[in-house]
């Protein structure tokens, strides 16, 4: 049986420094994780208040995976994050108020009410807006990597997919093409062990999704997705390797989806012991205590960060709530791009 490499936890501040993070970075990552969860928790409240149309999804339990990988990416790298990867948008710098506006379908959301929830991205920040169809963004990310190879740019594309979506042909064709051409891409699998209600053993027959990587000619790595530092280190390795021409890596972040598939789903099908076990390694709590033990995080710092996040989100909510409804007159606009739309750095 092919076995993917299992990543080690990061022990000490020293190891983290080696991986390229100083204390400020660590506190920044912690803050980003808090913002990520805070946005989704407030989104939940907004939903209950009837302010969010349609359905509502969160990535609770996946904050460390999303933030860890995005932290390892360089500004010039690009990515196609999914519905559990809010942390990626946060690290790349999307302003929370615009996310709330997106949730509520307002004019100031990145899609101006045309699309909803995490179906958004700020192209200026190197992210591409996901579609619902999973994992249809992998071929797109592969095309970004192909571009970097054609233009010989030292940039990497990151494509996310769930362990359930690993069953679809798009994942296979992307990895086949990227593997045969050694394209600069990192395939990140958010393995939260369930695809809606479907358990992993009905989606793939190996122990890990990453065990499949060698079938595509590159390395597979499994990392504990609740350990932001381990995720960061493995992501950085994979990114550096791709940047240096070493080709793709499949990085699997193992977590458990800590809420229902969407807000309407009570996830009765997830065994309680499993939930309890994973609740015990909550990514935020885990990182917080690591910071206290290894980076002398003080009560004052903690309170300050928490308070800052709270202020940020509260004002973001207010600002988002002031955002107008989109104008029906804009509905039919923008189906086709006009030449001016290409006057962007990308298209020079």
């Amino acid at each position: 049986m092919a076995i993917a490499r299992e990543a080690q936890p990061v022990g000490s501040l020293h190891e983290v420094r080696e991986a390229g993070l100083d204390r400020e970075d660590l506190l920044g990552a912690y803050r980003n994780m808090l913002v990520t969860r805070g946005i989704e928790e407030r989104g939940h409240i907004l939903y209950r208040q009837g302010k969010i149309p349609g359905s509502f999804y969160t990535g609770r339990g996946n904050e460390a995976a999303a933030v860890g990988i995005a932290t390892a990416m360089r500004p010039e790298d690009v990515g196609t994050p999914l519905h559990r990867d809010m942390g990626v948008h946060i690290v790349r710098g999307v302003e929370p108020w615009r996310i709330f506006a997106q949730y509520m379908g307002r004019q100031d959301g990145p899609t101006h009410g045309k699309d909803g929830n995490v179906h958004m991205a700020d192209a200026q920040l190197g992210l591409i807006a996901m579609v619902s169809h999973l994992p249809a963004m992998l071929p797109v990310a592969t095309g970004c990597a192909l571009t970097f190879r054609i233009r010989e740019e030292a940039r990497v594309a990151v494509g996310w997919f769930g362990e359930g979506a690993s069953a679809r042909g798009d994942a296979h064709e992307s990895m086949t093409f990227a593997g045969t051409r050694k394209l600069p891409i990192v395939f990140v699998c958010d393995n939260n062990q369930f695809a809606y209600s479907t358990p992993s053993y009905l989606e793939f027959a190996t122990e890990h999704v990453a065990d499949r990587a060698e079938a595509y000619g590159f390395e597979g790595v499994v990392v504990d997705g609740t350990d932001v530092l381990a995720v960061y280190r493995e992501a950085k390795r994979a990114l550096d390797k791709a940047r240096a021409g070493g080709g793709p890596t499949l990085l699997e972040c193992l977590t458990l989806r800590m809420e229902g598939h969407a807000v309407h789903d009570d996830a009765f099908y997830v065994p309680k012991p499993m939930l309890e076990q994973w609740a015990a390694s909550d990514p935020l709590e885990r990182f917080r205590s690591w910071l206290r033990d290894n980076a002398d995080l003080t009560d004052e710092e903690e309170d300050e960060i928490a308070a800052g996040v709270k202020r940020l989100l509260t004002s973001a909510l207010e600002r988002a709530d002031e955002s107008p409804q989109p104008d029906p007159a804009d509905l039919a606009k923008g189906v086709f791009a006009s030449p001016e739309d290409l006057d962007t750095p990308h298209h020079k």
Binding site: K114, H119, L202, P326, P328, A332
Partner: protein
């Protein structure tokens, strides 16, 4: 007779066939343990077991292709797409294999694909589409779009019985909103036969699915102005009941074709062109089409209201025709 919701009628039809015919099985994402995203198959796995109510991997090509193979082996597969939108991932299997196998190789492919479709609840661009027009153009595929609970049950049973691949479009916005009397026993609703939803003399509306109710509200409003509107609920888009449509067109001599899918290249064009060609001498006004604008389906309720044809839009269109 029992009063059932549209959703219950679908479950009832499926359960009826699965009890009657052990060749019938259901396969799809989360249809088993979870009972389906919309709970159409709630309790089915307990009753029929895990090999007749199959939780598939997230792989529409495998789902549709497996049904094709199973159908050829003598089964009566029913595939559930979690949302109709995701059938785009099974497009090739349907149009390349299932649709053409009977004509090319003489092999019938009796299968059903259930497609929860339609908008009206901010599902956004990928949970709201009405892709029936795309499939109605492919020779070898049948498309049915029930509007009432009674037809929902009868057409599902007909679809399962039919020796061809049948796409069964179940409109999500009708699931729990629409209730109606549904016979408890087994019955079929003929594929390809329209239903006169409302009798009228002055203007005809040709439509299907959720738009039947939009048309009905509009018709009620026009009644007060003394304009009598006939509503033809097509029920099947492929094959479609040309005879019933032409009869109504000749009777009223003014026709509005209405659908929720986008306008350009939508199946309404086929219907309008046919009426305009074959009832040319009988028409007192141009055949009018009302449909969604040529955009994806928007998420924001404000935008979605502007996207999906509303009662006001239909009222305006009918007035125009009446006054023509």
């Amino acid at each position: 007779m029992a009063e059932l919701t549209y959703l219950q009628a679908i479950s009832d039809g499926l359960r009826t066939e699965m009890r009657r015919d052990k060749r019938v099985f259901l396969i799809g994402e989360d249809v088993g343990v979870y009972g389906g995203a919309f709970k159409v198959s709630l309790g089915f796995q307990e009753e029929f077991g895990p090999w007749r109510v199959i939780d598939a991997p997230l792989a529409e090509t495998a789902i549709v292709g497996s049904c094709t193979g199973a159908a050829i082996m003598g089964m009566r597969p029913v595939a559930e797409m979690q949302f109709a939108d995701f059938i785009s991932c099974g497009w090739d299997q349907l149009v390349t294999v299932a649709a053409k196998q009977r004509w090319r190789a003489g092999t019938p492919v009796p299968m059903v694909v259930r497609l929860p479709s339609g908008g009206g609840f901010s599902g956004g661009p990928f949970h709201s589409q009405n892709p029936e027009s795309s499939f109605a153009h492919i020779p070898g595929l049948k498309c049915v779009c029930p509007a009432t609970p009674e037809d929902a049950k009868g057409l599902l049973i007909s679809a399962i019985e039919d020796p061809n691949p049948v796409l069964y479009f179940e409109h999500k916005h009708l699931y729990r909103r629409i209730k109606g009397e549904v016979p408890e026993e087994r019955y079929t609703t003929p594929i390809g036969k329209a239903r006169i939803h409302r009798d009228g003399d002055d203007v005809s509306v040709i439509t299907w699915g959720a738009m039947v109710y939009t048309a009905d509200e509009a018709a009620q409003q026009l009644e007060s102005d003394g304009v009598s509107v006939e509503i033809v609920d097509l029920r099947s888009v492929m094959p479609w009941d040309k005879a019933a449509v032409l009869d109504s067109a000749r009777k009223t001599s003014k026709v509005l074709v209405l659908h929720e899918d986008t306008r350009t290249g939508g199946f309404g064009g086929e219907i309008a062109a046919t009426i305009a060609e074959e009832a040319f001498e009988d028409l007192d006004a141009p055949v009018k089409r009302i449909a969604a604008p040529d955009t994806p389906v928007p998420f924001s309720p404000v935008l979605e209201k502007a996207y999906i044809p509303q009662v006001e839009d239909v009222v305006a269109g009918l007035r125009q025709l009446a006054e023509y």
